[in-house]
């Protein structure tokens, strides 16, 4: 089965105060601001080649507006449109959005608005394409190179997990199973990395976090320093996940949305026939927070 989704393309996050939060996303998180149109600002990591990966939109609440996956090819959109029809999933065709081409929009059983698209303006990263340096100087904040994944909550996780597996053909890299053997949470991939999206129990449409790449232990600890210097609220870390093996630090944006700097450099690479790793709920502590071996007070209950 070929993989048809190249990455988590965009997330749209709600902001209670766009000016304030934009300052944080640019100077503390360290994303590149690419445009601001009305109530939405468009941002991306310095190494991302397309116009944007994060939309920050003024709203009366925190949380996620929508998430979108970029398909590998144009024809993959037609492929998915056919699958949505076949599984009787109601969807809308969005002819275009800001610097983006046609998209399919539907609501997943988790309650999230999900889009699939292929075309977005190719703007290049911040480096030249001829004889580039390995990284740009003068970056601000944590400065992650790119968006990595998102974790969302669902009232009926097995149903949501099944939807992503069957309709969108994601594969499970790891799952958390209860004593009855039912998966209560799953980490799902198409790009050959541990996950593009993960689903855990919680409210319909809940946004647990969006994660950005940091590519070394130095970068992870530097992220912790920067967050503390700016008095940002750190939820957990620096630490490591049992699930995915990734290193991590969780923190909140000023509107209370959880973000993660994810050290995928310690994770693994998937082969198409990789089989799911199973974690049992009695080992949930080290599964989530490997070193402390227990969940903190906020990880499961706090999300937007």
């Amino acid at each position: 089965m070929p993989y048809r989704i190249s990455r988590l393309g965009t997330v749209e996050i709600r902001s209670l105060d766009l000016d304030r939060d934009l300052d944080y996303y640019v100077n503390v998180l360290g994303l590149q601001l690419t445009a601001r149109e009305g109530r939405t600002a468009y941002l991306k990591g310095w190494d991302e080649r397309h116009a944007y990966s994060v939309m920050l939109t003024q709203a009366d609440r925190a949380g996620m507006v929508r998430l979108a996956f970029r398909t590998v090819d144009q024809e993959d959109l037609d492929y998915y449109e056919d699958r949505l029809r076949r599984f009787s999933v109601k969807y809308d065709v969005i002819p275009e959005d800001y610097r983006r081409g046609r998209a399919l929009r539907f609501t997943a059983p988790s309650g999230h608005v999900v889009e699939l698209y292929n075309e977005m303006d190719y703007t290049g990263n911040v480096l030249p394409t001829v004889n580039p340096a390995p990284w740009p100087e003068g970056l601000k904040g944590i400065a992650p190179p790119r968006l990595d994944h998102t974790l969302v909550t669902a009232p009926d996780p097995p149903k949501a997990i099944q939807f992503f597996q069957e309709v969108l053909e994601f594969r499970v890299s790891e799952m958390l199973v209860n004593p009855e053997g039912v998966p209560v949470a799953a980490w799902l991939w198409q790009r050959p990395s541990p996950h593009d999206i993960a689903i855990v129990p919680g409210r319909a449409g809940g946004f647990h976090h969006a994660a950005f790449v940091v590519d070394s232990a130095d970068a992870l600890f530097r992220a912790a320093d920067i967050l503390t210097m700016h008095k940002a609220r750190i939820d957990y870390g620096p630490g490591r996940h049992g699930i995915t093996r990734g290193t991590t630090i969780y923190f909140f944006d000023p509107s209370g949305n959880r973000l993660e700097a994810f050290g995928g450099y310690t994770a693994y690479q998937m082969d198409p026939d990789c089989r799911a790793i199973k974690w049992t709920t009695d080992e949930m502590g080290p599964a989530v927070f490997y070193y402390s071996q227990e969940l903190n007070e906020t990880f499961l209950s706090v999300y937007t």
Binding site: D60, R61, R233, S255, G256, V302, T304
Partner: protein
């Protein structure tokens, strides 16, 4: 104390207000320019809180008397109706007067006297230090 008063509902930026927690009777001094949560944490007490950005609603508390400026809060976790019924988010709310807060089990207010124990130990240790360097 309500320095300068706040009967007109306007914030006194230099004042100190007293927050009394029922049913414990604990009191915390809160500056007019800090949030209720900051004052609680500064006092050495602990309560449950989440994002500290007004987005998740974990730190919601019930005001039984006094006035607060609510700050920026998600309408999904603190509606106008919630405010009318006395709820506020402690991570965002700043006092406009002395406050009385009715604690519930979900707030998990507790006072760990770690700070004063540590301070006392340190004081003893310092007094034992030889003065010559």
């Amino acid at each position: 104390m309500a320095d300068g008063g706040s009967t007109d509902g306007r914030r006194c930026t230099t004042g100190l207000y007293t927050i009394t927690f029922h049913p414990l009777g604990d009191t915390v001094v809160c500056r007019a320019d800090e949030t209720v949560l900051s004052a609680i944490l500064r006092s050495g007490a602990k309560v449950v809180f989440g994002c500290r950005g007004g987005g998740c609603g974990t730190c919601k508390m019930r005001l039984t008397s006094g006035h607060v400026e609510y700050g920026r809060c998600s309408a999904a976790v603190l509606s106008q109706d919630d405010k009318r019924k006395g709820s506020f988010l402690s991570c965002q709310a700043r006092p406009l007067s002395d406050l009385t807060v009715g604690l519930t089990a979900t707030n998990r207010y507790r006072r760990l006297d770690v700070c004063s124990i540590w301070t006392a130990e340190r004081a003893t240790t310092f007094s034992d230090f030889p003065h010559e360097l």
